[in-house]
């Protein structure tokens, strides 16, 4: 049986852990609020951009797939895949990163992609995929999307260029969608070839384009992809903090329960020790 001193030590150590987890929970809660604000501020732009693209979607039907912006729609059904994976830098947030990485691996497996070329944001995705057959082109850590619009642009334009040059057959984006504080769900989306959002209401009126429709559509569609990646990054960061907050909350609760149990155990052992000591003294006194 553990001695009283051992139990006391154990209680102290659990208490210290509890302090850490509850502090982490608080920090995540604050960060979550900020990243939710970021999403809220980025949403109008994303929504408008999407609606602009969708209002033009009738123009994409039956477009020639080997010139101009039509190349972004080219679907060859090949297996050469580029992946943009968005994960977090740090762990201690439950199954947040692992479930995404696994979902992506499953999808790649189902599609029969053996060697995808990946750009990974966040350290955790890198840790998962560096042991697999997939090639990691770049890994960016310690970055935040708000300062990194340029980085997003570079990653996307590199993939787009290679897609247009027929070096890749598809580009997919994997990230964690922030549904609520309790739930984040892994999302795997196809970026290229572009799936244009459906038009809500087809506007049949003639639209004036300045400059030509071809020029506008090409840059607009690329911007649309970039924005998708940017927003998904913000989404993932909010999800990371939410996941960490809930898992740290659970850890704090568990530590509390553990302390209670240990405390009870400690009190009982202490009582038992006192009783046995008393018996010893009394029986010693009797024998005299």
């Amino acid at each position: 049986m553990a001695s009283l001193k051992d139990i006391r030590k154990r209680i102290d150590s659990v208490k210290r852990t509890q302090k850490t987890t509850s502090a982490m929970k608080m920090v995540s809660a604050a960060k979550l609020r900020r990243s939710e604000d970021n999403i809220r501020e980025a949403t109008p732009y994303a929504v408008k951009l999407k609606s602009v693209v969708s209002s033009l979607s009738t123009r994409f039907d039956g477009v020639e797939q080997d010139t101009g912006f039509g190349r972004l729609f080219r679907s060859s059904g090949g297996k050469r895949t580029g992946v943009i994976l968005v994960t977090s830098d740090r762990g201690l947030c439950g199954g947040f990163n692992a479930s995404l990485s696994k979902a992506l691996a499953r999808q790649l497996n189902e599609e029969g992609v053996e060697c995808a070329e990946m750009v990974i944001l966040g350290r955790k995705g890198n840790d998962f995929y560096k042991r697999t057959n997939h090639t990691i082109l770049e890994n960016h850590t310690g970055t935040h999307p708000k300062e990194q619009l340029g980085l997003v642009r570079d990653i996307v334009s590199e993939f787009t260029k290679r897609f247009e040059a027929n070096e890749l057959d598809q580009v997919i984006l994997a990230y964690n969608h922030f549904v609520s504080v309790m739930t984040q769900e892994p999302v795997i989306e196809q970026l290229l070839p572009i799936k244009a959002p459906e038009a809500e209401s087809a506007d049949e009126r003639e639209i004036i384009f300045e400059p030509s429709p071809e020029d506008i559509l090409e840059t607009l569609l690329k911007k649309y992809i970039q924005n998708q990646v940017y927003v998904s990054w913000l989404d993932t960061i909010a999800g990371e903090h939410a996941a960490r907050m809930t898992s740290m909350d659970a850890a704090t609760k568990n530590a509390g329960e553990m302390i209670d149990k240990l405390q009870l155990h400690y009190n009982r052992s202490r009582q038992a020790a006192i009783t046995s000591e008393l018996i010893e003294i009394i029986s010693g006194a009797e024998s005299i």
């Binding site: 732009y45 602009v52 639209i207 384009f209 300045e210 400059p211």
Partner: protein, 141 residues
């Protein structure tokens, strides 16, 4: 029939403006565009420049740096990479940026090959343009 335009200016980071206005002038890539209510549908690329809008005889300016504008019915949506209202611009910083860009254009060390040199010049030219636009907007305030 409404005789006002619903003007929205958004950037990837935030919503800059959401207002009912009488008319809008946009810095289109092929020249300035004046938009009044009941304009025909239009989609255009925006250059770095000054976007201004008029409301009850009062004109306000916003500096926009590259983006798109969509006009549909009575709504004008401006999707800019960067947009700043006059109150948000730091005039001194814009002035400093102008002198710096000018210095770099006039006496900066040229890059070795012509392609790099061209992109270097483009970079500073757009910086110069941006700082001038910022100053104009800030002073119109």
């Amino acid at each position: 029939m409404s005789d006002q335009l619903n003007l929205e200016v958004v950037t990837p980071h935030r919503t800059v403006l959401l207002e009912e206005v009488d008319s809008v002038t946009l810095p289109g890539i092929e020249g300035e565009l004046g938009i009044l209510p009941e304009h025909v549908p239009l989609l255009t690329t925006l250059d770095t420049g000054i976007m201004s809008y008029n409301n009850n005889g009062k004109t306000q300016a916003i500096a926009v740096h590259w983006g798109y504008a969509q006009v549909e019915g009575n709504s004008v949506r401006v999707l800019a990479e960067l947009a700043e209202t006059a109150a948000e611009i730091d005039l001194q910083r814009a002035k400093d940026a102008e002198t710096k860009a000018k210095e770099n254009l006039v006496s900066g060390t040229p890059a070795t090959d012509w392609k790099a040199e061209e992109s270097r010049q483009n970079k500073y030219e757009s910086k110069l343009k941006r700082s001038i636009v910022r100053q104009t907007v800030a002073q119109s305030h």
